[in-house]
């Protein structure tokens, strides 16, 4: 039975309302972890992100009838449909990102829509990071800006995909491709975290930590050194495979 040490942190940051939500739940021989960032500029961002996280945690468990990555994709699509229903019922624009990690059957599966991220750390290295669906990330991919500048770019808030709309909401899905091992680790976070913490710094702080909570403390201390006065909401989930 796979065991995890995980820590969930979410905060309004320098804003009045926290429009992020984060949560976790059990899966067959595993767990699911979810971060959702309600889009500011759209009313009810907090309602949107809450809807996504709740829907995914309340979704039917994977039963082996479809591959786990398909289950994860379907679960996100179903959450998107629920958000669309809510939006129509309240006649309000509601949009959210999502970053989700499902560890089940000994493997890890992740998915994202928008610019919340999943990081996978394997054998003391960064194995994989999800790609943002944003204009700034496209500029990085084209070589116009460096990776370190994605969070500082003027187009950083320009998303190319999000949940809650009729289109441009397709999740990207990935998997570990191999069995998850003891010592493996994951981070899920909204842009309010990764804007201020570089990829390698998540790894450095993992290598210093004996628990998921300690790992989060180290990461958040870096954040505190770098924050502007009105910093965004932030959500962080650290997961260590025991």
């Amino acid at each position: 039975m796979m065991r995890f040490d995980s820590f969930i942190f979410t905060s309004a940051g320098g804003r009045e309302v926290n429009e992020d939500h984060a949560g976790s739940g059990k899966l067959p021989d595993g767990e699911i972890f979810i971060v959702a960032d309600g889009l500011g500029g759209h009313t009810c961002g907090d309602v949107a992100s809450d809807c996504i996280v709740r829907s995914m945690l309340e979704a039917p468990q994977p039963d082996g009838s479809v591959p786990p990555e398909k289950w994860l994709e379907d679960t996100i699509n179903a959450a998107n449909a629920k958000l669309a229903e809510l939006r129509a019922a309240q006649n309000k624009s509601m949009k959210s990102t999502v970053a989700a990690l499902a560890v089940t059957g000994g493997r890890a599966y992740w998915a994202n829509v928008g610019d919340s991220r999943v990081y996978y750390f394997h054998r003391n290295d960064i194995e994989a990071i999800t790609e943002d669906h944003s204009v700034a990330f496209k500029k990085f991919r084209s070589g116009e800006i460096s990776r370190d500048m994605i969070g500082k770019d003027e187009d950083q808030s320009g998303l190319l995909r999000s949940l809650g709309g009729n289109d441009r909401n397709t999740p990207d899905v990935g998997c570990s491709g191999h069995a998850v091992e003891s010592g493996d680790a994951f981070v899920l976070c909204s842009d309010g975290v990764w804007e201020y913490v570089r990829d390698e710094e998540f790894l450095i702080d993992l290598l210093k930590s004996s628990s998921a909570a300690e790992w989060a403390d180290y990461v958040l201390m870096r954040l505190m050194e770098r924050l502007p006065s009105n910093n965004d909401n932030l959500s962080l989930i650290t997961v260590r495979v025991l």
Partner: protein, 289 residues
């Protein structure tokens, strides 16, 4: 049925350092040996008294010249900054260095390195506390380089940096009042610049070697892999607080470790006549073959 794509996986190694020659990423054909090629280390140090009446920083390299000892037991770089304004700063820093060096002779390189390093720091803490009665102490930054990996312990406000591919990373954090405030804000879930009230004594240390607390130092619980081209710098706050990170990047970008030290020295002292300068010490370790 929608196609599952893996295009979202970003391989960070696409734009990172050259890895040791026999790593899976760059291996070609069948290697003659399964033994990894061992890194060698070019080292240099910089030290100055600043405008202080005496030098209270201490440092040491152990096994820096390489050889069988270095291959078997590793190489150490150790730095301690005696606390000014308290008694016995120089005595404290020298004692911390000698304690770590002595313990290192008995380390088991196949044992738990993080635990051994932490135990040495705790032992130094007790010795200095007994020596000075809690009225003095020092910082500590100690790095062990073994089999292409690095371990460290740290306490106080000295700096441990890694320069990799032109990008600078601070490896350790500071044990001072402002960082305690950060931790308190984090635990209160108020992560914003407004949640911390800055005080004149923000930089005062909350933990140091000699405070008698026996508290575990900060350390790498798992080692960090090192690659050719990596540069590790340990320095006292007389460097870290007086030189910007961009200046550090520029200095560590020089060709030789001696030139790196010369550039750091220039950054600290140029145009600083008449201004306060702390004792300053930097230890530079460049990874090469």
């Amino acid at each position: 049925m929608s196609q599952i794509i893996n295009q979202n996986i970003l391989r960070v190694s696409d734009n990172t350092v050259v890895r040791p020659e026999n790593s899976a990423a760059v291996r070609k054909g069948v290697p003659e040996s399964n033994e990894p090629r061992m890194l060698r280390y070019q080292v240099a140090n910089l030290q100055g008294i600043g405008t202080c009446p005496r030098q209270e920083d201490s440092f040491a390299f152990v096994n820096a010249l390489g050889g069988e000892q270095a291959v078997r037991n590793g190489m150490m770089a150790i730095l301690a900054d005696g606390m000014g304004g308290m008694s016995g700063g120089k005595e404290a820093s020298e004692t911390a260095i000698s304690t770590i060096k002595t313990d290192f002779q008995d380390y088991d390189p196949n044992g738990n390195i993080p635990d051994q390093l932490a135990a040495s720091a705790v032992r130094a803490d007790k010795i200095i506390y007994d020596m000075l009665g809690g009225n003095g102490g020092c910082t500590l930054a100690a790095c062990l380089f073994l089999r292409n990996k690095m371990y460290f312990v740290s306490e106080g406000d000295s700096f441990i940096y890694l320069l990799r591919n032109g990008r600078l990373f601070r490896l350790n954090h500071e044990f001072n009042i402002v960082h305690e405030s950060y931790l308190e804000a984090i635990h209160n879930r108020t992560v914003s610049a407004k949640s911390v009230v800055h005080r004149p004594d923000d930089e005062a240390l909350t933990h140091f070697i000699g405070d008698g607390s026996g508290a575990a130092p900060e350390r790498l619980v798992r080692p960090m892999d090192l690659y050719v081209g990596d540069i590790v710098m340990l320095c006292s706050d007389g460097v870290g607080d007086f030189v910007t990170e961009n200046q550090v990047i520029e200095a560590l970008g020089k060709k030789s470790t001696d030139e790196m030290c010369a550039e750091l020295d220039r950054c600290i002292n140029e145009g600083a006549e008449g201004k306060y300068r702390d004792n300053y010490t930097a230890l530079i370790v460049k990874c090469t073959y």
